[in-house]
Symmetry: C2
Subunit: 348 residues, 2 copies
DNA sequence: CCGAGTGATGTTAACGATCACTTTGGTTAT
DNA sequence: ATAACCAAAGTGATCGTTAACATCACTCGG
């Protein structure tokens, strides 16, 4: 206890078992070419010394890679969190180790900063490119080690097919579905409270939520109101949505995610607007809390976990092309209709 | 591109710059004993080759440690997430690298499984011991490498003082404060919907939420109803709380966290019980969404981020005792009164 | 009875960095 | 002029592990 005795190495085990270190290595890695008696001796020594292999040394020595680093910023959102779970599960089932490194959204990381997150050059990496820091990180890794990276984000089928390092879902399609549903309910038009990545520097891709929304309105020959930009937090959303809430001609708001939707619901309640009578609100992501708000939020469910799984499979293929390339799949979004949406109350 | 050309090593840089590998090492690590001209040559070579030091090799060679691994299970709860942010910030500001390894709550990890999470024996580790898998992990690490671990969890001042590897907050005290508040509002007694760790195998510590609640009721001479055990999910909480909702004599429920509180609020609404008229509900943790539900949740705020920071400082002390031992501090819990609590409606 | 094959081990050389020394020159004090 | 010193740079060992190759003792077929 007072003596922080150093951890046993493969050599200590070898000495105690009376064999060479290489034989110990063979036992540890389950090589078949070890006599049963020897194996037992070694295992005994391992147990006695409490030996555990040093993963750093192992991968330095060029052993199998079997480790992924996930770069993510905001893991408090349900989508990324679920995708992460998918990656974890897929990786664990193959005995890969998974490390997560969190990018600070406030901080603007320099390129070196981002690269320094990786334990070594060429470390297999999955990037959650759903927000600004993630998209930055994607660019940096793309320039640095494109062969050992995969990014998750909102992309169309074409984009996915064109870029061998992308995995994602077509958020635009999902937004289109939600918008069409609101139109079908009889709303004149649908307003949009947009997450930061749908607008500004990084936004504008056809697979983005705002794009799917606008496209659908145009196709239906409706007026396309300006999308209202919001920050990621409840407080920012609450503030940003006020003009929409105050405007009685607004009867339906599609929100960029469920957090924005909850803030909108709250704002509507405080302003005395009835939901869904005066105003329909639709969220995005099917975050667990949405089923338990009052009224319960209508939202769009997407299978993030399977996207995470797909990202891991693709990474495995890219790192070692003997692994099969998973066929790109975009899980179909599913609209979950609950209590915050319905037909507009007919004007008197 | 086709050629996944190997990453440049320190030797490649040395050769290109016409110096020894050791000089390159000096430049990279900012040693003062390098001539300016040499430094420039080396930096140029580094830039040209896109060299980045291999962290694995570096820590193998016995360089400064400067890396923490955080073991956590459920990071979707606000508390752990905020604590993690605290660790991240503290670590980054000293240029330590942080890896997170997620324990699967469903899976019962074997001891080796948990240990295998660490990149090497002796890796400095912080464990989020707020749930079952975390508590398991704490035990395992305690047996394996107590000198390089710190655990975060609910502990009393005495427990914290006695165990040099613990950091935490006195949840019992916080629960006591919330319970006293409800009693002061005039409620006969207060019921408790408990998180799994407050009951069962791991529960029962004096710093646990359920304990603070029961203690306060006893001290006030009130009847102490059985705590109602709940799982972690909304669905489990919703189901578990039904008997309390159905019982009209129940006028106040203290919930083990904000998720349970939201489920309780939803259940009360569906059962037609008015909140806070018929029923007061108090949550725990001040999860961001609590300010935006309708009615907004009364809850207990705790400064998780500073606990995370404290954990990192303590770990630094334990790994290298020349670093000062941070004085244990338990940030004071703060009751945030919003709209789900108040005096009971007087019986007619 | 001998050479080839084979299964179980040992030996040596990386891997990419740091650490503890050693060497090389040029100043400075005596 | 010479010892002493110092800054700048190099050399070799080392960290814990795996890969590649070498060795050794058997067994087996001809």
């Amino acid at each position: 206890m007072a003596q922080p005795k150093k951890a046993a190495s493969i050599w200590d085990v070898a000495r105690l078992a009376g064999v060479s270190h290489q034989t110990v290595s063979r036992v540890v890695n389950g090589s078949p070419r070890v006599a049963a008696a020897t194996r037992d001796k070694v295992l005994e020594a391992i147990a006695e010394l409490g030996y555990r292999p040093n993963r750093l040394a192992r991968s330095l020595a060029g052993g199998a890679v079997e480790s992924v680093t996930v770069l993510a910023a905001d893991t408090s959102l349900y989508g990324p969190e679920a995708a992460l779970r998918g990656i974890e599960k897929a990786a664990r089932s193959l005995d890969w180790s998974v490390q997560i490194s969190v990018l600070d959204p406030a901080d603007t990381h320099s390129d070196e900063d981002i690269i320094a997150r990786l334990p070594r050059a060429g470390e297999p990496t999955i990037i959650m490119a759903h927000d600004e820091p993630g998209m930055r990180a994607k660019q940096v890794l793309l320039d640095t080690q494109p062969q050992a990276m995969v990014a998750i984000g909102p992309y169309t089928a074409e984009e996915l097919a064109a870029s061998p390092w992308l995995v994602g879902m077509d958020d635009g399609k999902a937004a289109a579905e939600a918008t069409r549903y609101l139109l079908d309910q009889g709303h004149e038009t649908v307003h949009h409270l947009a997450i930061p990545t749908s607008t500004g520097t990084f936004g504008g891709g056809k697979a983005h939520r705002a794009d799917g929304w606008a496209r659908t309105l145009r196709e239906a020959g409706r007026e396309v109101p300006d999308a209202v930009p919001s920050g990621w937090t409840f407080a920012e959303a609450f503030k940003a949505v006020q003009p929409l809430i105050a405007d009685p001609s607004v009867t339906a708001i599609l929100c960029g995610n469920d957090h924005l939707a909850l803030a909108t619901l709250r704002a509507a309640h405080l302003a005395g607007r009835d939901v869904p009578g005066d105003l329909s609100i639709v969220g995005f992501d099917n975050t667990p809390f949405t089923a338990y708000t009052t009224p319960a939020l209508t939202t769009v469910n997407q299978d993030f976990e399977s996207v995470g799984r797909g990202a891991f499979e693709l990474l495995r293929h890219r790192v070692d092309s003997t692994n099969p390339r998973p066929k790109p799949s975009w899980p179909d979004p599913e609209l979950i209709i609950r209590e915050t949406s319905g037909p507009p109350r007919s004007r008197s």
